[in-house]
């Protein structure tokens, strides 16, 4: 199997740097997601790995071998496209056979492998259908099967679920993830959907403007974001102003804020007296009837959405908070509340701007 190493990879279009010196080491069998807003260079990065775009600078190594000068058709990659790109004039079987025929594999072996892969994507019995006779989800699975049947070194997927409806999308997340685990193939997955990246990946690469903002496990990205941009991109976040009052052990600072003085995790140490910004995730906050606790406020809005309730709280100290609670919370719009935030709900983002 294959380890991929990307080193200072750059792509320029004219004077614009679509991808700007990114480096990633992808372990054998790892599932990596490239996550970022539209136009941040995810597709361009994937196309360079696939060989559809020439790298302007930098190296791409498969198992240590530089493939920058290897054309796409010789790179031995499996690719799944957002619009599936199934060949419309071929049946499912013919689509799946195509890559194997290009590899000059014998007919019986081809049939054998097709049967196996169709079974794997649960599409046995669909052999003779044309792509336009399949649902979106089925086409998606054929595209996946077509990429996998050639037993490529690497699987690349560019927003493969973007055209599916919400429910199917969630099913396919799990399906693709399970399949990838079973096959054990090194996978690079492009998406701008943070929930998708979180649930599927071993590690997530967050990109902005052609650069990597952070690489880490989903929990790392979510709980210990490198900066404000990352924190805001991977979920809702409250920003709380505070002042450092001292150190509190390794990687922890004591910070005074409207919620009192708490020991907050941080990536770097900050000298006492410095003004900092803390992040506080909406689901870490607890609301109680008014009267107890330091931070007091008033509910200005309440949005019920089944699995959670979203609150907007105006604190007496002037800040606005976004809070998510379980749906059984009996607090209504207009109620006065006291707001509790446990120390481990905070994360020190950095010095205040």
């Amino acid at each position: 199997m294959t380890e991929v190493s990307i080193e200072r990879l750059t792509k320029t279009f004219g004077s614009a740097r679509a991808v700007d010196g990114i480096s990633i080491r992808i372990a054998d069998g790892e599932f990596i997601s490239l996550l970022g807003p539209s136009g941040c260079g995810k597709t361009t990065t994937l196309k360079m790995i696939a060989g559809f775009e020439e790298a302007s600078e930098g190296a791409i190594r498969f198992d240590g071998k530089d493939v920058v000068n290897v054309p796409a058709e010789k790179r031995d990659i499996g690719m799944v496209f957002q619009n599936y790109a199934l060949f419309p004039h071929m049946t499912v079987d013919q689509n799946l056979a195509f890559g194997l025929e290009m590899r000059k594999i014998a007919k019986p072996e081809i049939l054998n492998r097709i049967a196996k892969v169709l079974d794997m994507v649960q599409l046995g019995g669909y052999s003779d259908r044309y792509p336009n006779q399949l649902s979106g989800g089925q086409q998606q699975r054929v595209a996946l099967a077509r990429a996998l049947v050639i037993e490529p070194k690497i699987l690349l997927l560019d927003e493969p679920l973007a055209n599916l409806d919400a429910k199917l999308r969630e099913e396919m997340r799990v399906f693709i993830r399970d399949l990838q685990r079973r096959v054990g193939i090194t996978t690079v997955y492009v998406t701008h959907d943070q929930a998708e990246a979180m649930t599927m990946s071993d590690r997530v690469v967050v990109m902005f403007g052609g650069r990597i903002a952070q690489i880490g496990a989903p929990s790392d990205i979510y709980e210990r974001p490198e900066n404000l941009e990352v924190a805001q991109f991977v979920g809702q976040v409250n920003l709380v102003k505070g002042t450092v009052t001292g150190a509190a052990g390794p990687g922890k600072s004591r910070v005074a804020s409207v919620f009192g003085e708490v020991a907050v995790d941080s990536r770097t140490d900050h000298a006492p007296g410095i003004a900092v910004t803390l992040s506080l995730r909406p689901e870490a906050i607890e609301l109680k009837p008014a009267g107890r606790g330091r931070a007091q406020g008033k509910v200005t809005a309440r949005y019920y959405s089944g699995s959670i309730i979203d609150y907007r709280i105006a604190l007496d100290s002037g800040e606005t908070l976004h809070v998510q609670t379980f749906p059984n919370t009996r607090i209504a719009e207009g109620d006065r509340v006291s707001v509790h935030a446990p120390a481990d709900g905070f994360w020190l983002l950095g010095a205040a701007k």
Partner: protein, 260 residues
């Protein structure tokens, strides 16, 4: 019929388009000696005359041969030009399109005269059929180009990328993916080219050279001195040939655009 006015209008348009053809076909079965409609008695005698007329037979063979050669050349060049136009022309796209469509925009007689000067200037002259075939290629090229580039515009580039990722080289991608998917456009264009070449008068008239003749020219020649139903029989046969061409391509080669 919910819309009598519209229906009537459509019927009139069809009548206007088809009536002359029906008249010609009807007149070809004439038993009399003159090209009249309705025919005076029914007979196939003018077809017999036509099939025994060496001059017409030679002309029809020339026409078919020239049309076939022109179609193959025009189909190949036109398809290649369309490929360049859609995939590589970049900022020259508009210029390429106008150049390719130029023969359609210029009066055919101008093209013909210019080409006549040209073939003599470069010493080819009109002793061979090269000049005439070049002319036919020239005027049929735009039809191939338009048809093929239309079908290429709907060719999704990700099909090509998918084929590459599956290990297909340039040739395999063209043969197995692109060609089958743009086939309706290529066949449609070739069919147009064939019919236009078979039918054209001006270009052939200027460039045919002495001793050869195509069917439209021969027919014109014939009608200058004769007015028999044989002319109608000739026309009917060429209409039939065209019709057979369309139907055969449709059935055999699969002109149906919406197969997928």
């Amino acid at each position: 019929m919910k819309r009598p006015v519209l229906t009537l209008y459509c019927l009139l348009v069809y009548a206007f388009l088809l009536a002359p053809i029906l008249v010609v076909v009807g007149a070809s079965f004439n038993a009399g000696n003159f090209l009249t409609f309705p025919p005076q008695g029914l007979s196939l005698r003018w077809y017999v005359t036509f099939f025994h007329n060496d001059v017409f037979m030679r002309a029809i063979r020339t026409s078919l041969w020239v049309a076939a050669v022109a179609t193959v050349i025009s189909g190949t060049i036109g398809t290649m030009a369309a490929l360049y136009y859609v995939q590589h022309a970049g900022r020259w796209k508009e210029a390429v399109r106008i150049a390719m469509l130029a023969p359609l925009l210029l009066p055919e007689v101008l093209t013909a005269i210019a080409l006549l000067f040209f073939v003599y200037a470069i010493g080819i002259g009109t002793t061979t059929m090269i000049g005439m075939i070049a002319g036919h290629v020239l005027i049929t090229l735009p039809f191939v180009f338009i048809n093929v580039s239309a079908s290429l515009e709907s060719f999704d580039p990700s099909w090509d990328m998918a084929a590459r990722s599956l290990g297909a080289g340039r040739l395999a991608r063209f043969r197995r993916i692109m060609l089958p998917l743009i086939k309706p456009g290529v066949i449609g264009g070739a069919l147009f080219a064939f019919i236009i070449s078979f039918d054209t008068f001006t270009i052939s008239f200027m460039l045919k050279g002495i001793g050869t003749s195509t069917l439209p020219i021969q027919l014109f020649d014939y009608l200058r001195t004769n007015f028999t139903p044989e002319a109608a029989a000739v026309s009917t046969v060429s209409i039939l040939l065209t019709l057979v061409g369309v139907i055969v391509s449709e059935k055999v080669l699969g002109l149906r655009i919406h197969r997928f």
